[in-house]
């Protein structure tokens, strides 16, 4: 014959069925929920900082927007300098290698406007511009030539100019650098 369970024994002797005390857990959950709802922001879905990239601090107060996005990496933290496509806070395809980005045109080459063009980035942006223009015609979504750039703090001015010149040549003349708000 099977022995009666402990619970039955307790009940038989007038013992009470134990309940897990949920009150304290509910208090914590309620506080957490209120805090998270108060600080809720949808910008995380629009733009996410790419790993191993040191974005500069700025006092700007403009919020993020959805646009074509690229990463300009000096390689200081990642060890892989170059230009990448950015999607969902991750580097996707590599568009240009580090030497093309870092090279400073000198001598006769400094006078050549094409020396400031990054070929991989230009090809990608022209493709994106074509797609945006097609969307504009089919769906009426205006193409405003907007591009967001996540550039590492150690990227030099020459590289920034190259990226800007390439963006401009492909029809993206509204360049916006992603920065970390300092206030």
């Amino acid at each position: 014959m099977a022995a009666p369970s402990n619970m039955r024994k307790l009940a038989g002797r007038g013992g009470k069925e134990e309940n897990i005390p949920l009150t304290s857990m509910m208090d914590i959950f309620t506080n957490m929920l209120l805090f998270l709802i108060m600080s809720f922001s949808a910008t995380g879905a629009l733009m996410t900082k790419v790993d191993l990239l040191d974005l500069p601090l700025s006092t700007i107060d403009t919020g993020p927007r959805m646009a074509v996005a690229i990463v300009v990496d000096s390689g200081r933290l990642s060890g892989a300098p170059g230009i990448y496509v950015e999607q969902g806070g991750e580097r996707r395809g590599k568009l240009d290698e580090g030497p093309a980005l870092l090279e400073v045109p000198t001598g006769q080459r400094a006078l050549d406007p094409n020396a400031m063009i990054l070929p991989g980035l230009q090809q990608y942006l022209q493709q994106q511009a074509d797609e945006c223009r097609a969307r504009e015609q089919q769906l009426g979504i205006p193409f405003e030539g907007e591009i967001t750039i996540q550039a590492d703090a150690a990227v030099n001015y020459n590289s920034v100019l190259k990226v800007l010149a390439t963006c401009g040549s492909a029809g993206f003349d509204r360049t916006e650098f992603v920065v970390v708000k300092s206030e």
């Binding site: 949920l22 509910m26 959950f29 309620t30 957490m32 929920l33 998270l36 709802i37 600080s39 809720f40 922001s41 949808a42 910008t43 995380g44 879905a45 733009m47 900082k49 040191d54 974005l55 500069p56 601090l57 700025s58 006092t59 700007i60 107060d61 403009t62 919020g63 993020p64 927007r65 400073v104 405003e144 030539g145 967001t148 550039a151 590492d152 703090a153 150690a154 990227v155 030099n156 001015y157 020459n158 920034v160 100019l161 800007l164 010149a165 963006c167 401009g168 040549s169 492909a170 029809g171 993206f172 003349d173 509204r174 360049t175 916006e176 650098f177 992603v178 920065v179 970390v180 708000k181």
Partner: protein
């Protein structure tokens, strides 16, 4: 005669327990959702433009007036020793005496003297740009399209006697790190009065180029 005892005396209310399970389920779903979408690092966008000659088209400053307005042509050129600030295309030879050119040597720590730069830009804004204010006009965005307020009314802004009252052309050495460039752009955009904490707009539309 016996009376029947009151029903209230016999009635013992059962202790009712709240069913917390649906609330717990909802909270357990909501908390991870909100945690994943939380923004712990606040990101912003720093808008820049190419100088008009190099722009791919579509952008640039709109020019509505029949007679072209004069250009302020504010240039902040950084080099390894300091910052040169000039307006109306002045050089050291032509503008040093009349306040159209000023060279600001680096600060004692070797970095750019951004405080001095802000004072110089503030002077240019107050003495050169603001006195030319002439009524209001509809504001344009960076793409040259009219801007509107949230209620649909046209966004108005002060009209000045220059074609480029908000623009500043930045030039810097090739090796200048991007974070220092951002600090330079921040210094050109606005100035915060340390006493009143009031923010005064300086030149919020930077264009980056290289002056050979």
């Amino acid at each position: 005669m016996a009376f029947k005892p009151s029903d209230k005396r016999k009635f013992v209310a059962e202790e009712a327990e709240l069913n917390l399970l649906p609330i717990l389920n909802m909270i357990v779903v909501l908390i991870p959702l909100l945690l994943t979408s939380s923004e712990f690092v606040k990101l912003g966008l720093l808008e820049t433009q190419l100088p008009p000659a190099a722009a791919g088209g579509g952008g640039g400053m709109a020019q509505e007036a029949e007679q072209p307005l004069p250009k302020l042509s504010l240039i902040v050129a950084a080099d390894t020793k300091g910052l040169a600030v000039s307006i109306f295309g002045a050089t050291e030879a032509t503008g040093a005496a009349n306040g159209q050119y000023r060279y600001l040597p680096n600060a004692a720590d070797g970095g750019m003297d951004l405080a001095a730069l802000q004072q110089e830009l503030l002077r240019i804004r107050r003495e050169v740009v603001l006195p030319t204010a002439n009524g209001k006009e509809q504001a344009l965005d960076a793409a040259g399209k009219p801007r509107f307020n949230n209620d649909g009314s046209p966004a108005m802004e002060d009209k000045y006697g220059f074609e480029d009252p908000d623009a500043v052309i930045i030039s810097a050495p090739n090796e200048l790190p991007f974070d220092q460039l951002v600090h330079l752009l921040d210094a050109c955009r606005s100035w915060k009065d340390p006493e009143t904490k009031k923010v005064e707009v300086l030149f919020p539309s930077p264009m980056m180029g290289k002056i050979q």
